[in-house]
């Protein structure tokens, strides 16, 4: 994903453009026709591409670019006949720059009708 931001209301700060990448390598197991289990590795990356500018942003701050890196694991369970899916993901961040660093836990579910 590539993000183009407008100027922030009230501060006149214009956040820099951002590039995001999510990715995974998954293996599928189908013990029966009614269920599919997907497990694998996941990760995400984020890079600030252009400068953040504005009256409240110092020249030094404007030269900085945040970057985010993370790796983790994911599992999904799909019930094809019921058109239902559940998933869990965990990411651990590393080697970030000019931002916070930590982890993310994500749970999801979907149903088609």
């Amino acid at each position: 994903m590539y993000e183009f931001h407008t100027t922030q209301e009230g501060t006149r700060t214009h956040p820099g453009q951002t590039f995001d990448l999510d990715y995974s390598l998954m293996k599928t197991f189908t013990p029966t026709k009614a269920i599919a289990l997907h497990v694998g590795l996941v990760g995400y990356e984020q890079r600030q591409i252009t400068a953040t500018t504005g009256q409240a942003v110092t020249p030094e701050e404007s030269t900085q670019r945040y970057s985010v890196n993370a790796l983790g694991a994911a599992s999904n369970v799909t019930f094809p006949k019921r058109k239902v899916n559940f998933g869990l993901k965990f990411f651990e961040e590393f080697a970030n720059r000019s931002t916070f660093q930590g982890f993310s836990f994500q749970a999801s579910g979907s149903v088609s009708f």
Binding site: F4, S104, F113
Partner: protein
Amino acid sequence: MTCWADPERGVYPLGMSATNSGVTPESGFTYSNQLLFYSRDEVKGEHGATLPITGSNSVLMDMNSLIWVSRKEFFGGARYSAFATLPFAKNDLTSDIHGNISGGSGFADSYYVPFVLGWNRERLAIRILYGFLAPTGRFAAEAGNNVGSGYWTNAFSSGQTFYLTKGKTAAFLGL
């Protein structure tokens, strides 16, 4: 659809599309709910060094998405789809020295994707998307309880799923 209140990152909630990003759902409607929790307790400097600042930042988001996929195919088997994501979020920034610095909860910036084209093939699935984030979350320049970003974001993206085996038992995906 943003790590709202986090000034040092983009607005996309990282990781939420790490799996199945290229696959267009079946024709009709799909409801999806994602619960995303981000916790951070280190502050990294420009060159990656950990700064001597102790505290924590957390963001909890509940993303409600309604997706519609057309039945008709065109452009070599592409199906058109669109979706909207209505999120609720809670964020907190706390310093060990100064205590709670900011925090807010409520309806956050919403994500609308009016244009998605998707091709599902035997060994490959691709989607191209245009969407925008509307600043529907609460934001005021001097407030400490913001939930929104206070700005619009135009977002262009593409999802790809490559099936590494004929039986689709292994896949590499990227967004």
